[in-house]
Symmetry: C2
Subunit: 154 residues, 2 copies
Amino acid sequence: MNAGKKGPKLPRVTSFGWLVAVLGSELAQSLDNKLRAKGLSLSLWPTLFALWEEDGLTQTELTIRCSTAHYTTTRVLDTLETKGLVERRPHPESRRAHLVYLTKEGKKIEEELTGEAIQTNEEFLAPLSADEQAHLKSLIFKIISERLPDVGRS
Amino acid sequence: MNAGKKGPKLPRVTSFGWLVAVLGSELAQSLDNKLRAKGLSLSLWPTLFALWEEDGLTQTELTIRCSTAHYTTTRVLDTLETKGLVERRPHPESRRAHLVYLTKEGKKIEEELTGEAIQTNEEFLAPLSADEQAHLKSLIFKIISERLPDVGRS
DNA sequence: TATTGTTATACTCTATAACTATA
DNA sequence: TATAGTTATAGAGTATAACAATA
């Protein structure tokens, strides 16, 4: 289709950054599509996920766990609250802080939505053997944990 | 690696999607920072890269090679033209099409900018051995080529 | 009627900074 | 003076659809 006579210095197809960018955007779009079909979107996912892991956090703690900005947390929680998935309750010890809790509905969708995420991951990993899948994840983990010191937290 | 007493169904740290998303955003931000220091940004990169690979394409061909939308190509070229890196010339056979060429300046920055990209890739891959680096890239390539049938073009 | 490219418009996401109210 | 959270505002980036010019 394209004989590529010129041989550029950084062939697109073998550039690590290009490979990761393509994979990442395909993965993101795939999950985003599934979430949008349910009236949600990928931008709400990190916060929901963090809350499924642990409920009753302050917004500051949520902000840290989602690696976002505090104003992003505010907006995302506004949206999730409007959709009835989350509620802000007063902090028992500080009148300026809130504790964020999942509503009944917010808890109810956990299984369905994490199921979609798991399915997305499996779809993408399907071309690899079980050994290759584990190796791929551990290699990426090795790179990431170099940069996010908190990644190995128990 | 993760002692997690509660044992959520999809631990964040072992989710393939999460790993790729974190890696991708770190990589993107790293290159974007370097490009912004030179008055450019990551959104201009795919088009510049495609033109360094091959000059004198129509906007439609550029749009295909960058996997974007036609209106995005228009905007990106406007920006690159303003910066004097690119120029639109009339197509010899069709008066509605343009051929896009790099200017002298646009060609001059290729080596410097691809050097930055190569350096970014190397920085991220540094924690891995040469074998691991090659393996990681080939595993990602295997997944991607499943989805982008055009990816294996030589 | 289809194609090439531009533009109007709007929506999402992100970023800065100012703001309220607590502590 | 610092912290928790909200809001105003602006800027990217992206998406839809309408549009002009050409084929």
